[in-house]
């Protein structure tokens, strides 16, 4: 009987609170690890799909451009470019000193032009409609054409007595390290939108993120995935998705469902929880919650808060400790970008070997 009672007591013992807590804690840890891993996998998967698609498209584009350039011929009549020219570079960027386009007569007598415009790679045949030849979902850093290794050369002539050589380079930003756009609006870490590991929102990824819909052309002027930009709520209206269009001073961020009001002016405390000051007629700069808003650094001053008041183009970001200049140049690294480069030598000798 004692034996049977012992068994009964043992069966109905249940679990203690400590056991339950320990089990729950361990499961929480396991679930956390699993979720973290799966999030990591999903992020990597996006990168993989992006690079695969880019590889497919870039392969086609590079082959297409290379083959067409290789088979170019001299424009004898000057109908496409000037008479006697073989290649003419176009779309010169004076600030960078590069040509991002090339024009020539093809072997089938088509006047063809490849060029980068508004962040996309395009072609025009015989003066027709401009066509995009690389999906605009890819953030193109730059496209450059160089004749005979000399970036200052604009044309290749037959009289150069040198077989023309065209170098073509295409740089596309990696998905997980998107291009740093000028004039980015401030955004909050709590906003719900696609962002990379550095917390930087992703433009041009083919997904109409919530933040893109709201910030729209201000943040992703070239690569917005949402099409038509909605209008931000005016001052005094409810804050929708952390965005207010507050007053003539400009655009500010706000807390969800709060009313959009005026921002603290220069000299006032930074109180709106959004690290935004309206500092001076020069515009808006960042501030730390609770600190007094000062005048933002102007061009030539040190960057102290990640923001510069640059020039007529508006507000731009800067690296803390650097000097604010006009809009800081975009710095590209082989680590952040996929750079494809190839060189093509024109197919036919410009002078017959028997001449």
């Amino acid at each position: 009987m004692k034996y049977l009672t012992g068994i009964k007591n043992k069966k109905s013992r249940g679990v203690t609170m400590i056991e339950l807590v320990v089990v729950l804690a361990i499961f929480m840890i396991m679930i956390s690890v699993a979720v973290t891993l799966f999030i990591s996998i999903i992020q990597h998967q996006r990168g993989i799909l992006y690079e695969q698609e880019f590889t497919n498209q870039a392969s086609y584009v590079t082959e297409y451009i290379s083959r067409t350039i290789r088979n170019a011929k001299k424009d004898i009549l000057g109908d496409c470019i000037s008479a006697g020219e073989i290649y003419k570079l176009t779309n010169y960027d004076g600030s960078l000193g590069f040509y991002s386009g090339i024009k020539f007569l093809t072997e089938t007598n088509i006047c063809q032009q490849f060029f980068m415009s508004a962040g996309t790679l395009n072609e025009i045949k015989d003066g027709g409609v401009q066509q995009n030849i690389l999906s605009d979902k890819f953030t193109i850093n730059y496209v450059r054409f160089i004749i005979n290794g000399d970036k200052t050369l604009e044309r290749a002539f037959e009289t150069d007595v040198r077989q023309p050589r065209v170098t073509f380079v295409l740089s596309v930003e990696k998905l997980n390290q998107p291009i740093v756009q000028n004039n980015l609006n401030p955004f909050e870490a709590t906003d719900v939108y696609a962002q990379n590991n550095n917390g930087i929102p992703i433009c041009g990824d083919g997904i109409c993120d919530n933040w893109e819909a709201i910030y729209c052309s201000n943040s992703c002027p070239l690569f917005n995935d949402c099409g038509v930009c909605p209008v931000a709520p005016p001052s005094g209206y409810s804050c929708v998705n952390n965005m207010c269009l507050s007053d003539p001073l400009g655009t500010d961020s706000c807390s969800p469902n709060s009313l959009c009001g005026d921002l603290p002016i220069t000299g006032r405390s930074c109180t709106n929880n959004n690290n935004i000051c309206v500092s001076s007629p020069n515009g808006v700069d960042n501030c730390t919650l609770g600190l007094v808003c000062g005048t933002p650094p102007t061009t030539g001053s040190s960057c102290v808060s990640g923001m510069c008041v640059g020039n007529s183009s508006g507000i731009n970001t800067c690296v803390v400790g650097s000097i604010c200049d006009t809009i800081p140049p975009q710095v590209y690294s082989s680590q952040n970008a996929i750079i494809i480069q190839t060189t093509v030598s024109q197919k036919d000798l410009i002078i017959s070997p028997t001449d």
Partner: protein, 160 residues
């Protein structure tokens, strides 16, 4: 406690297995991306040699002038043999320690700049007489502790 350990072990195996299966995919994808770039760098190497050959013909030089000295391997970039060439870009013997760099113009070259992972070796041989050159371009790179290479071969002929 035993049940708990078994459960955790099974869960751990599951998680590790999923991650372990995915990790090679990421690595392979990165490798493919690099191979893609290497392919065009290889093509560029061949085109540079072809352009030098053409300019030799135009300039009434021996058609294989300079490039026939590359039997042990050479290095060249998009400026080699042009008026923009500097001492860095000259056709010179291949140096295994010399990586292609991204120069200040954002192009792969041997100018001063940030090293890339790629090295390019151009080897020229004459397997079928003096009127044919066999051009072998090899691109080498290391990634994640492994060495990779891409090789392309083409032939150039004497037009003279």
């Amino acid at each position: 406690m035993l049940e708990l350990i078994v459960t955790i072990a099974i869960l751990s195996f599951g998680i590790v297995a999923v991650y372990g299966a995915f990790s090679p995919l990421v690595k392979l994808n990165n490798s493919n991306s690099m191979r893609f770039r290497a392919m065009y760098l290889g093509q560029e190497g061949f085109e540079v040699v072809r352009n030098i050959r053409d300019n030799n013909v135009i300039g009434a030089q021996s058609w294989s002038f300079l490039i026939d000295a590359c039997s042990q391997g050479c290095q060249a970039d998009y400026k080699t043999g042009t008026s923009a060439e500097t001492s860095d870009n000259q056709l010179k013997p291949y140096d295994d320690n010399n990586f292609l760099k991204i120069n200040s113009d954002g192009l792969y070259s041997y100018d001063a700049g940030e090293n890339t992972i790629f090295k390019r070796k151009i080897t020229v041989a004459q397997p079928m007489g003096s009127d044919v050159l066999k051009i072998n371009v090899q691109i080498f790179w290391d990634y994640s502790g492994e060495s990779f290479n891409y090789e392309t071969v083409g032939y150039l002929y004497n037009w003279q």
